[in-house]
Amino acid sequence: MPVVALTSGRLSMNKWVYSLVLLAAPVFADASGGPGSSESAPTGVAQGRQIYEQYCAACHGRQGEGAANWKKPDEKGEIPPPPHDETGHTWRHSDAMLFKMIANGWRHPFNKSDRLTMPAFGKQMTAQEIQSVIDYLKTLWTEEQRDYQKTESQ
């Protein structure tokens, strides 16, 4: 009986140590500065920012400021790229909706051309990369907007 208890205690301890290693590993990896570090393979928000700058910034602005007259449709009925910062409406959409928009694109129903208003990026980005872009966009919002969007995502 005491042996069983000891074994069980070791197992519990091993689980705890394993969890700690999993939690600490990214920290050590980031701190190493070598290959595979945050500079060459960023994760989370940093990765999201890098991908945003590669694919999204050309239309939505480097700081997420959007097109100048984004609320006014052009002569083809297309809505110009909206801001992603606190002045836009990205924060009004749930994570699931934002993911769908980035992966599949979206066509405004009053667009008089056949092309997508927002192009699809599902072939260029992995699911994890799309999520990292969404995580980065959240850093451009106010605390109140983040709270609103969190509720929308539930």
Binding site: K71, P73, P82, H89, R92, H93, M97, M101, W106, H108, P109, F110
Partner: protein, 284 residues
């Protein structure tokens, strides 16, 4: 002495006649106003009954039978200005000084949904086309509120269009980023937004104070708006509009599965649209 009495009597008669001449037109006008109040709002119940809000009265008309429904009793005597049917068939009324109320048809009573609204100044309300618990209330300068639990908890979601909203609706017209669209009757025309409240934009070039707005649930691209009693129709979700001829000035409208477009008029009539510009009375 006789002459004095005679002239006094004549003077009294003249005074009576003069008083009658002044009062009679006013009395006649008051009588006609009572008989023919404008229809404030219309909706269709889940059983297909036409619900008619007219001044401080609410009627249900079904199979030619008219039944009066008592409205919520309020201390201030506030009257409802807006009525909507939820996706589950629940009937709601709202108005300034009244807030939002839901009708319990089983108990034939009204339930206040105002516990978490900032005040009772609801000038317009709408119910989501497909989500039973989702309601919208417009409180003027306080903006647009939404409840996702049938009115238990209201959250401010937006300031609404730049111009004041007199009425609005939710429709499940396709193409929204979220679950549908909001069409608002404003003092500038019809304003339109996806129900994520991304932004409000003009729905076409229709200009003027829109007093009533409706749509065809079976073909949601068909939107109707009333400006100064004139009915207008858009067949493309508010992009372009044409005027429709009506025999009387229109004040309210609704879509009935059996009768199609039904309008209420300034003199209290209810008319259903048959063919092009053909209108027939709904209830004599």
């Amino acid at each position: 002495m006789r002459a004095i009495v005679h002239s006094t009597t004549r003077a009294a008669w003249r005074l009576c006649l003069l008083t009658l001449a002044i009062l009679l037109p006013a009395l006649a006008q008051a009588q006609s106003a009572d008989d023919a109040q404008p229809v404030t709002s219309l909706t269709i119940s889940s059983s297909g009954a036409l619900l008619v809000l007219q001044g401080s009265d609410l009627f249900a008309i079904e199979d030619g039978t008219l039944t009066e429904i008592a409205l919520p009793a309020t201390d201030q005597g506030a009257q409802p200005t807006s009525m909507a049917r939820g996706a589950d068939g629940s009937i709601y009324v709202a108005g300034p000084g009244l807030g939002v109320w839901r009708y319990d048809s089983a108990g034939e009573s009204w339930q206040s949904l105002n516990d978490t609204l900032p005040d009772l100044g609801v000038t317009a309300m709408a119910a989501h086309a497909t989500q039973p618990g989702t309601l919208y209330a417009y409180l003027g300068k306080d903006g647009m509120f939404r409840s996702r639990d049938g009115g238990a908890k209201w959250v401010r979601v937006d300031s609404g269009p730049p111009e004041p909203v007199l009425a609005f609706l939710h429709s499940d017209m396709p193409g929204s980023m979220e679950s549908g669209w909001l069409f608002a009757a404003t003092t500038r025309g019809v304003s339109r937004s996806m129900d994520c409240f991304c932004f409000w934009g003009d729905a076409g070039d229709l200009r003027g104070t829109v007093s009533a707005i409706g749509y065809d649930p079976a073909a949601p691209e068909n939107v109707y708006a009333v400006i100064e009693g004139q009915l207008h129709h858009s067949a493309d979700g508010g992009e372009t509009w044409i005027s429709l001829k009506t025999p009387q000035s229109v004040t309210a409208l609704a879509f009935s599965p059996s009768q199609g477009l039904v309008v209420g008029t300034a003199n209290g009539s209810l008319l259903a649209r048959g063919g092009a510009d053909q209108w027939t009375p709904v209830h004599e």
